[in-house]
Amino acid sequence: MKLDGLAELQTLEFPAAPFYYIRPSDFRWLTPRLLVAENDPVEVGTPLFADKQDDRVVVVSPVRGCVRQIVRGAKRAILALVIESETSAAPFRIVDVPMPSNSQDARTLMMQYGLWPMLRQRPFSVIPNPDAQPKAVFIPCFDSAPLAPDYNQLMEGKEVFFQNGLKIIRMAAGNAPLHLCVREGADNSLFERCEDVQLHYFQGPHPAGNVGTQIHYIDPIAKGETVWFADPQDVALIGRFFAVHELSFEKMIALTGPAATTTGYFTASYGADLTKLFKQEWGREELRVISGNVLTGAKMEDFPTVRFYDRQVTILREGGQREWLGWLLPGFRKWSFSHTFLAWLFPRKSFAHNTSLHGGRRTFMMTDVYDKVFPFDIIPLSLLKACYIKDLEQMEALGIYEVDDEDFALCEVVCPSKMECQQIVRDALYELKMNS
């Protein structure tokens, strides 16, 4: 899938943000229990809210400042905590923390300082249960999604921290095998220098970089098993904390997209107000600013900030322009995975993608389109149908534990019936989680 607006290898100037928006919805199915009140002062690492299921799992403040507002929505659900930062403060805090000596130690320290949510577990892509033992840990070290950031750029200068982070995670995971998945043919020297890891080379187009695909090919998840996964930058942040005692949540994020006036990389903590970065684009109706990539990202609506696990901002043009007899035109400029438009005869470098749905919602009709973009040994249509009717037993048999909604993103893109595949899978996973 070709899109304009790949991030240039330039560093964008991003001054310290005045506000931070911390949203519980960034963490899947987490029900927050507030630990701060409005006007409370906070430090880097002050717990803001805990998981109601497990008090030990906390999300902490990424900056020093003051809780200005707690924004609530329907049924008083917490939408965001607005933190006004002291812009003069350093983006990290020195904490004198001992090197953990065993798995329990490592887990406790990570939870105490809000680093635990950086790990996620499959199935379900939720924050791992602090008492569970994973069978493996996966670190996907490249991103194959459209306009994905370059990991060498993201990881620049973080190599030592990364290696230290791997050590901590291995300890926390009770010496479960650590799998690093890299792109074949790319410059992987940074990852190849890591010790005590299993390096796996992947090739091919998206979703080769999805952790779900990688797990499926290396060590698939059966019922009752869990694996952990984490973003390399988060691993480096964990390593930094235990190596030089700096508690920081600053990550490098790529600004991309065909409608972005400038593209490049910038450094920010999660929740940072990014309006200064895309002043020209923010708030315009004809543009959509997305946290994440175009396949799995979320539209930024009320809060101009990236989600906890995202490393990319994409700016797209809104669609919805109506076209006379659009289904009949030859379509020289229309992107399609099928060859039904003449554009495939004249390959272009990239297409002017927008957010149009390009058609009406129908029932499942074309039965072979999903297979072409779904690299699992799982029958996508059967699984989707089982998910649709929430037949839990059938879902389990068909391999639901191996997939996540993001694995169906491409199915959703190419579906001529315009099925909301990701939503179907997400709802089904929720049902499964609630019943297990």
């Binding site: 006379w324 659009g326 060859h339 927008n354 058609g359 129908r362 190419v414 001529p416």
Partner: protein, 364 residues
């Protein structure tokens, strides 16, 4: 006006692409939609249709008027077109009436599936079939083949074939025998289709392979010209609208069976001629590949296709009552497609379970 919502929406989205933008999930989507897929199928059907128009006229002038090869191109084309036009109008009016009624009743958009169904139905009818029969057959097919099961996408029988089967069993005299295949004929004029000849044992009068291939023979409007059908197949495969797996396996299954029948002396017609006769190729390319009613899994598609081909030839050769086996073979396999899929899915489940347990033992 609310009563006409479904109709209004259908016309609106027919004229202009919808204004909807993505709300959940992926922010960008493929430009293709069901309308585009359906129009591609219709384009692929056009070569066969154009030839069909000409051939209807050609057969008429040759046999009825006895003009032989003296007639020119356009009168034939025009004659066939005028034969086809009322058929297609009646099909669409009758079928769309049922479609729109149900869309309105159920409160969903009118699915475009019927555009192809309605396009195919006249092509698999003899040219002189009475219009009221076509209307009844179409309404029956849409109602009982599709809408009672929930509409397009939920049907398990190919609606166009169901319409033909309805005519075949309810009004056999208009679609079988030797008297219906030439337009404008009377009882004195008989012209058997090649399949009819084989059934009656008149193999000496069979057209040459070349004639079978080009299609200057009596038959349904769309099925005679194999070159045009192959062009259609080419379009469908290259636009990735229809699955080549089904087409190929129908051909393989059909040819292998026909060859066996010929070698074993069951049938005097050589294998390749069986493939070129009747609606075999048309069915393989346009009807068996219907994504909704064929098997849904990849492996299932091969099995489905092979069985369609095998059954079609077996019905032709062994059942003297039905010269054309393709229609019944596809309908029968439509019914068995979910069973095939079930077996393939179970095999997939077992294979994965095996992999899990293997990995578990190696870890220990």
């Amino acid at each position: 006006m609310r009563k006409f919502n479904a109709l209004f929406d259908a016309i609106d989205s027919f004229l202009r692409t919808p204004a909807t933008v993505t709300a959940t999930g992926s922010h960008i989507r493929d430009c293709v939609d069901m309308k585009r897929i359906m129009i591609t199928v219709m384009i692929a059907l056009c070569p066969a249709l154009f030839f069909g128009w000409w051939n209807v006229g050609y057969q008429h002038f040759t046999v009825v008027d006895g003009m032989g090869c003296a007639i020119s191109f356009w009168p034939c084309f025009w004659y066939g077109f005028l034969k086809w036009l009322p058929l297609v109008i009646v099909t669409y009016v009758s079928g769309l009436a049922v479609e729109v009624l149900f869309a309105q009743w159920r409160g969903h958009e009118v699915a475009e599936g019927f555009f192809v169904t309605g396009f195919i139905i006249p092509m698999i009818m003899p040219p002189d079939v009475p219009l009221w029969i076509v209307a009844v057959a179409t309404a029956f097919a849409v109602l009982f083949g599709k809408e009672v099961f929930g509409g397009t996408g939920y049907n398990f029988l190919n609606p166009a074939l169901l319409a033909r089967a309805f005519v075949f069993f309810a009004y056999p005299s208009v679609i079988s025998g030797d008297k219906v295949w030439i337009s404008g004929g009377n009882d004195a004029v008989t012209a058997a289709t090649p399949l009819g000849m084989v059934m009656n044992g008149h193999t000496e009068a069979l057209p040459s392979t070349w004639e079978l291939f080009v299609g200057t023979i009596p038959g349904c409007i769309g099925e005679t010209c194999k070159i045009a059908i192959l062009i259609g197949a080419f379009i469908l495969v290259f636009t990735q609208v229809a699955d080549w797996r089904i087409m190929l396996s129908v051909l393989v299954g059909g040819y292998a069976t026909a060859l066996l029948c010929h070698v074993s002396g069951l049938c005097p017609v050589p294998g390749y001629q069986q493939i070129l006769m009747g609606g075999f190729l048309f069915g393989a390319v346009f009807m068996a590949t219907d994504p909704v009613t064929a098997a849904h899994t990849r492996v299932g598609k091969y099995i489905f296709g092979l069985l369609v081909g095998i059954l079609a030839i077996i019905i032709r050769v062994l059942n003297k009552g039905y010269p054309e086996g393709m229609m019944l073979a596809i309908l029968l396999m439509n019914i068995f497609a979910p069973l095939i899929d079930y077996c393939v899915v179970q095999a997939n489940i077992r294979r994965r379970e095996k992999r899990y347990s293997q990995l578990k033992t190696t870890r220990r």
